[in-house]
C-alpha cells in the first residue's frame, strides 16, 4: 500500500473502461482484490463500459484495462473499439500480454479442436455439430496477444497481476506519474 491517492482533485473524474477478451475474468477479480480501496477509487474515477457496469458500448475514456488474448472475431472488434475510445490502453495479465495459457491451443488446428469438443466427444448427444449460427463469433486460427492487433501503452504482468500492482498502476496514472513497479510486486505466474 505504498501508492498514494492524488493530492489534488482532478478537474474532472478520470474515466476507465475495462474488458475481458479471451480472458478468465481473473484479472478483474484481482482488480477487486484492492478491496475497500475500491470505495476510495470510486470517488476519483468513473467507469465506462465494463463487465461491472451496464454500458453496452464503449465511450471516450482515459484508460482501458484489457484482460485476455484475442481468440475470435468479436474480440478483434471489441479491442479495436476500446483502442479508438481510450487514450491509454493497458494489457492486463498474461493472456493479454502473450496469449497466456489459452494460446496453448496454437499447437493444434482450430478445426480439430472444435470438432473434437462438439462432434466426436463420446459424451455428446448423437448428431451434435460444431455451432454455426451467425450470432456466434468465429474463432481465429491462433490466439494472439493484444499487441499483435492494436498498439498497447502499458503492460501489467501476472496471471493475474497482484492487486498491489493494479492499485499502484492506477494511482501512478491518476497522479500523473510514470508507472513504476517495484521488484517484489512483479510476477508472471
Amino acid at each position: 500500500m505504498t501508492a498514494t491517492a492524488p493530492t489534488t482533485t482532478p478537474p474532472r473524474k478520470i474515466r476507465i473502461a475495462t474488458a475481458s477478451l479471451a480472458g478468465c475474468f481473473g484479472c478483474h477479480m484481482s482488480f477487486a482484490d484492492i478491496d475497500t480501496r475500491l470505495l476510495a477509487l470510486s470517488e476519483w474515477v468513473t467507469f465506462d463500459r465494463s463487465p461491472l457496469t451496464d454500458w453496452k458500448t464503449v465511450g471516450e475514456c482515459d484508460i482501458a484495462l484489457i484482460e485476455g488474448g484475442v481468440c475470435n472475431a468479436e474480440n478483434v472488434e471489441v479491442l479495436r473499439a476500446f483502442r479508438r475510445a481510450a487514450r491509454i490502453l493497458v494489457a492486463v495479465g498474461a493472456c493479454a500480454i502473450n496469449g497466456g495459457l489459452p494460446a496453448q491451443r496454437n499447437h493444434h488446428r482450430v478445426e480439430a479442436l472444435l470438432t473434437h469438443v462438439f462432434e466426436t466427444d463420446r459424451h455428446l448427444a448423437p448428431g451434435s455439430r460444431v455451432p454455426n449460427d451467425p450470432e456466434l463469433p468465429l474463432l481465429l486460427e491462433h490466439v494472439h496477444p493484444i499487441h499483435e492487433i492494436v498498439r498497447v501503452d502499458y503492460y501489467l504482468p501476472g496471471c493475474p497481476p497482484t492487486a498491489e500492482v493494479i492499485w499502484t498502476f492506477l494511482m501512478d496514472l491518476l497522479a500523473g506519474r510514470e508507472p513504476h513497479f517495484p521488484y517484489p510486486m512483479l510476477r508472471y505466474d
Binding site: A73, R84, N132, V150
Partner: protein, 591 residues
C-alpha cells in the same frame, strides 16, 4: 570446455557426402548407424550435425534442383522460371514429386551472380537459365535422362574478365611449372618477410595483415600447425574466388604451400563450398601436380595438401565455424579467444586465409614485395579482384588497384540504366545511394572497405525489396547459437515481410530498433554484427523510399485477420459479414 574441444570427428563431413551418395539421406538409418560406429558418436549427434547443413536436408530424389534465391537472380526473373518447372510437375518449391523423382527448392547465392538466373542440379551449376532451357530440362527429366548425360553446355560456367591488371596478367603468363620452381629452397622467414614487406591484407573482407596473422601462429610453442584455405566464398554476389579456382588452381596450391611453410604447418587444407564441387577434378589435378613438385624436397619439408567439401552454410565462411565444420561438427563460430592462430583445427595453431590472399602470396613470392607495393594505396597495397554483377552490361571480373573509385569500377562494367543503389562488399557490407560523393569514394580498407563484391541496381529496383532479400538470407543462414542473432535476424525478416504485405507502420521500425542495437553489440560473431547492416543503410540513405511503404495507421496486424478466419468459415460453412474481418480499420468518424 576442454572436453568439448576434444570431441572432434575429422572426416565426418566427407563421410556424410558419401552416405548421401550411398543411402540417399545421411539423416536416416542405416546411414546413421554406420556413421555412428565409424566415428564413435551417438547417432543423434551425427543427425544433429548433418541437420545443420542445407544440402544434407534435401529429400533424396533422382533430380534435386535448387533455384538460386539471390536478389540478382530475382531481378533476372528466377521466380517465374522456378514456377514454370514446378507447374510442369504439379509441385510447389520445397516439395518432391509423388514418385520421389524430382525435388525442387531454393538455395542461397551459389557464386553465379554474373550468370543469373541460375540453379543447381545434383550439385552441378545451371547458369544463365531461360524459359527455353527450363522447358528442355523438363523434357530431360520426363525422359529420365541422367544428369550426367545432359548437354555439357547447360553446365558451362563462364568466367568473364573485363579488365586485367598486373596480377591477372602474371597469373596468365606464368605457367604452373614456373610457380612450382619457386617452391623449392624458400626459407619460411623469407616468405613471411616478403608478405610483410608487401603489406598484404586479407582478401576475404576483414583485411587483417596476413603476415601479422602468420607471425602470431608461427610464434606459438605448438609445432603441429595447419593452414586452411577458405574457399567457402558464400557472400552473396561474390564470385572472384571462382575464377581463381577455375583457372589458376596451381597458383593457389603453390600459395597454400608457401603459406604453410611460412607458418611451419605440415598440412594445408582447401575448404571448398558445396556449390563449387564441379571444380573438384580440376583442383584434384592441380593438387597432384603441386604434391609431385614437392617430391624433390626432403620429406620433412613437404606439405600435405587436402581438399574438403562443404555442404551449404554461409556461416562456415567465418574462420572458427569453418574449422568446426572440418572437425565434423555443426559450423557454429566458436567462443573466442582463443583465436584459431592459437587454438584452431584439432586444437592446434591454425591460419585461415582466403583464396585470393593465397594466390597473392604466390604472386608476391614470384615478383617481390616492391612489385606488389607499387600498386594500391599505402594502407591497402596491391591489386584487387572485383566481381561486379546486377544491372550492368558486363557482369564479371575486374582487376583494379586498391583505392579505385567506386564509380570508376561501375563505369567499367557499363551500367544498363542510371545506377540508383550500390551494394558494396555483399549484404554484410554497405548499401549506398549512387550519388556523386558516394561514387567518388575509393574502395580500400581505410575508406570504403570492399571484399571485391559490387552489385549495381538501377532505378527499376526498389531498395526496400533488395533489403528484404538480404534479410531473408541472413535469417536463413544464421547458425542459431547466440540470442540476438538467432532471434534478431528473424525479427528483421518478419518486419520486411510485413512491409511487403503492406501492413507495416512507423511503429514497426521503432520496435525493431532495440533488436538491431542488441545484434550490433551483443552478437557472438561478425555475422550477427553484419546482419543489421542492410536495414541500417536503408534507414540512413533511402528513408523516403522506406517511408513510402509504410501505412499512415498507428498500427496494423502483421497477418491477415480475414485469412485467420478461413479455417472456421470452412468448418461452419458461413460467409456472412460477421464471418469476416477488415484488415484496415475504417477512418475514424466524429465521435
Amino acid at each position: 570446455m576442454a572436453t568439448e574441444r576434444q570431441r572432434t570427428a575429422p572426416g565426418l563431413l566427407a563421410a556424410l557426402h558419401q552416405a548421401r551418395l550411398r543411402w540417399g539421406n545421411p539423416l536416416e538409418e542405416p546411414a546413421l548407424a554406420e556413421l555412428s560406429a565409424a566415428f564413435a558418436l551417438p547417432p543423434g549427434e551425427i543427425a544433429a550435425t548433418a541437420s545443420f547443413y542445407h544440402f544434407f536436408q534435401t529429400p533424396p530424389a533422382r533430380y534435386q534442383i535448387h533455384f538460386i534465391d539471390h536478389v540478382v537472380d530475382h531481378h533476372a526473373g528466377i521466380e517465374a522460371l522456378c514456377n514454370r518447372l514446378c507447374a510442369a510437375f504439379a509441385i510447389q518449391p520445397g516439395e518432391r514429386t509423388a514418385d520421389a523423382h524430382l525435388f525442387v527448392g531454393w538455395t542461397a547465392c551459389a557464386g553465379l551472380s554474373d550468370q543469373a538466373p541460375a540453379a543447381i542440379v545434383n550439385g552441378r551449376p545451371l547458369p544463365a537459365l531461360t524459359p527455353e532451357r527450363i522447358d528442355a530440362i523438363i523434357d530431360a527429366i520426363r525422359a529420365q535422362i541422367p544428369v550426367a548425360e545432359w548437354p555439357a553446355e547447360w553446365f558451362a560456367v563462364a568466367n568473364p574478365v573485363y579488365r586485367r591488371g598486373p596480377l591477372l596478367t602474371w597469373l596468365h603468363a606464368t605457367p604452373a611449372a614456373a610457380v612450382l620452381e619457386q617452391l623449392s629452397a624458400r626459407e619460411p622467414e623469407a616468405i613471411l618477410q616478403a608478405v610483410a614487406d608487401a603489406g598484404l591484407r586479407g582478401r576475404g573482407g576483414a583485411g587483417f595483415p596476413t603476415a601479422t596473422k602468420w607471425r602470431f601462429c608461427r610464434e606459438t610453442a605448438d609445432p603441429t600447425r595447419y593452414l586452411i584455405c577458405n574457399a567457402d566464398e558464400g557472400e552473396p554476389g561474390t564470385f572472384k574466388d571462382r575464377l581463381l579456382l577455375t583457372h589458376y588452381p596451381d597458383h593457389l596450391f603453390a600459395g597454400m604451400t608457401l603459406a604453410a611453410r611460412a607458418i611451419g604447418a605440415q598440412t594445408a587444407m582447401l575448404y571448398l563450398r558445396y556449390e563449387y564441387q564441379y571444380l573438384l577434378p580440376k583442383l584434384e589435378a592441380a593438387r597432384e601436380r603441386i604434391l609431385a613438385a614437392q617430391s624433390q624436397l626432403p620429406p620433412s619439408e613437404r606439405i600435405t595438401l587436402e581438399i574438403a567439401l562443404g555442404a551449404g552454410a554461409y556461416v562456415c565462411g567465418e574462420e572458427s565455424a569453418l574449422i568446426e565444420s572440418l572437425e565434423g561438427k555443426p559450423g557454429r563460430p566458436r567462443v573466442r579467444p582463443p583465436f584459431p592462430v592459437t587454438s584452431g583445427y584439432l586444437g592446434q595453431p591454425t591460419v585461415v586465409n582466403n583464396v585470393e590472399t593465397l594466390v597473392a602470396v604466390a604472386a608476391i613470392v614470384g615478383n617481390g614485395p616492391q612489385w606488389w607495393r607499387s600498386m594500391g594505396t599505402p594502407d591497402s597495397s596491391g591489386p584487387k579482384l572485383f566481381c561486379v554483377s546486377g544491372d550492368v552490361a558486363r557482369p564479371g571480373l575486374y582487376e583494379f588497384p586498391y583505392g579505385v573509385a567506386l564509380g570508376d569500377l561501375i563505369t567499367a562494367a557499363r551500367p544498363l540504366g542510371t545506377p540508383y543503389a550500390i551494394q558494396v562488399s555483399g549484404p554484410s557490407g554497405t548499401l549506398l545511394p549512387a550519388t556523386p560523393e558516394q561514387l567518388a569514394r575509393p574502395l580500400a580498407f581505410e575508406a570504403l572497405p570492399c571484399n571485391g563484391t559490387v552489385m549495381v541496381f538501377d532505378e527499376r529496383r526498389d531498395p526496400v525489396a533488395i533489403v528484404r532479400h538480404f534479410a531473408r538470407f541472413f535469417a536463413h543462414e544464421s547458425c542459431g547459437f547466440c540470442t540476438p542473432c538467432r532471434v534478431g535476424t528473424q525479427l528483421i525478416a518478419k518486419t520486411f515481410a510485413k512491409i511487403a504485405a503492406g501492413y507495416a507502420t512507423r511503429f514497426d521500425l521503432e520496435r525493431l530498433a532495440p533488436a538491431l542495437e542488441a545484434m550490433r553489440l551483443a552478437s557472438n560473431c561478425g555475422f550477427g554484427l553484419s546482419a543489421g547492416n542492410p536495414v541500417r543503410d536503408l534507414i540512413a540513405y533511402f528513408r523516403p523510399r522506406l517511408d513510402a511503404h509504410l501505412q499512415p495507421h498507428d498500427f496494423l496486424p502483421a497477418f491477415s485477420l480475414d485469412a485467420e478466419l478461413a479455417a472456421t468459415r470452412r468448418l461452419t460453412g458461413r460467409d456472412d459479414t460477421h464471418a469476416h474481418l477488415a484488415q484496415f480499420e475504417q477512418p475514424e468518424a466524429a465521435r
